[in-house]
Symmetry: C2
DNA sequence: GTTGTTGGCTAACAACGTTAGCCAACGAGG
DNA sequence: CCTCGTTGGCTAACGTTGTTAGCCAACAAC
């Protein structure tokens, strides 16, 4: 979040209705009340078949867990054999990368929406609540983003900047933003992994987190 | 950290010099300046051979990464074949669990030492610094503790309570403790995974984290 | 009508965790 | 001294994983 790269050039206007790629379409951009430092990148274009495959992979992951996300099983739900997948994707890492992208797009949109919603009140609290809500609604998807060192090469340029930007918009300071993001991430990871001691009232833990970043 | 179970009974006195199990021995216990809620459990006893195996596994993990921690490779560095490992351990999960234990013991000792060191100054800051230091000094070991839902069954009873207790001792409030722990964990995980944008001055991020939990 | 591309297929490989079954060494008891 | 049970090695093998090689039908383009 340092080195939040300033927008270099305005995005090119959309040229006609784009194909449905399974990724969130560009939402209407409201007049922004807060300083903006990252523009929403343009989602990558995918062939229809690849979109199908990633969609199936997502369903597989969310419904049956990461253990069921194998190339053979993925082929099975698509009615083809595993090696045929390699006609469309270079390997399993590409499937995972696409799923990580999906999560970043969706979470980014949700978080920006929170910051856009101009309520003057506790922005940090609402941001944390939404972060938690998304992660808990898609635990397997979120976990996938948390594991590996995030092969950045495959990721859409600027996606990370943009999806993390709501934390900057909520705190107004890049390092506080990184700290808040880290705290939210850690809390989600621990909650998803059931690492908090049984009996904990996690709502209160999250409240304590929000308090730390709002008080003073 | 809620449900931090109060110490039920004093630990039994040590009966003679214990065998070296590869786990940290019980340290001398100083007079505690802060309220204590969890006693240091007694490390499990391991056969000498198992201790060798876990030691080799740790070296393998730390030196060559998690991808090299396979049963065949582990046997290789021990001069035996993979199936022979099953004469000593029920499976790979047991190796990983033992390594997670090791990390919890070591980190717990280090963190307690920080809180014990009676400096009246910024306890939270020093605690975070030590947490970060340990994790960065043993990235692969730490990552191992961060991945899976932590098969709690195999873990020494009370280990988690005790290893997390320094956060309670530093904050004085269980939910603030959980929040602080989550924040530290998240920051470490993101730093280890190289998820912060390149160019970030991570010292400042950690400073922001400490500030959030000290100011107010 | 030929030709090139697209997208399926089977067969196979190496590496993984793990199980089954065999056997040498060795300590204890009679 | 002999026997017997245990300990801790071994090989062979199984099922599963990601992945590659090579074959071939359908189809669009020239």
């Amino acid at each position: 979040m340092t080195d939040l790269r300033l927008p270099a050039a305005p995005r090119p206007a959309d040229t006609g209705p784009p194909a449905d790629t399974g990724l969130p379409a560009d939402p209407p951009r409201p007049a922004v009340p807060v300083e903006r430092v990252a523009l929403r990148p343009t989602p990558p274009t995918r062939s229809p078949r690849v979109t199908e495959i990633i969609g199936a992979a997502r369903r597989l992951l969310e419904d049956e867990g990461v253990g069921s996300l194998t190339m053979r099983r993925l082929g099975e739900v698509l009615g083809i054999r595993a090696p045929s997948l390699y006609k469309h994707l270079p390997g399993k890492h590409a499937v995972e990368a696409a799923l990580v992208e999906t999560a970043l797009w969706e979470a980014g949109d949700a978080l920006h929406r929170v910051v856009d919603g101009a309520g003057p009140g506790d922005v940090v609290g609402r941001l944390l609540a939404e972060y938690r809500r998304y992660a808990l609604a898609h635990p397997n998807l979120y976990r996938l983003t948390a594991v590996d060192p995030l092969g950045r090469e495959g990721l859409t340029a600027g996606l990370e900047d943009w999806s993390g930007e709501p934390f900057y918009r909520a705190t107004g300071e890049p390092y506080a933003a990184q700290a808040l993001w880290a705290a939210a991430h850690g809390a989600v990871v621990l909650e998803l992994a059931n690492r908090f001691l049984p009996g904990s009232d996690l709502d209160r833990t999250w409240a304590a987190l929000a308090a730390a970043f709002t008080a003073h």
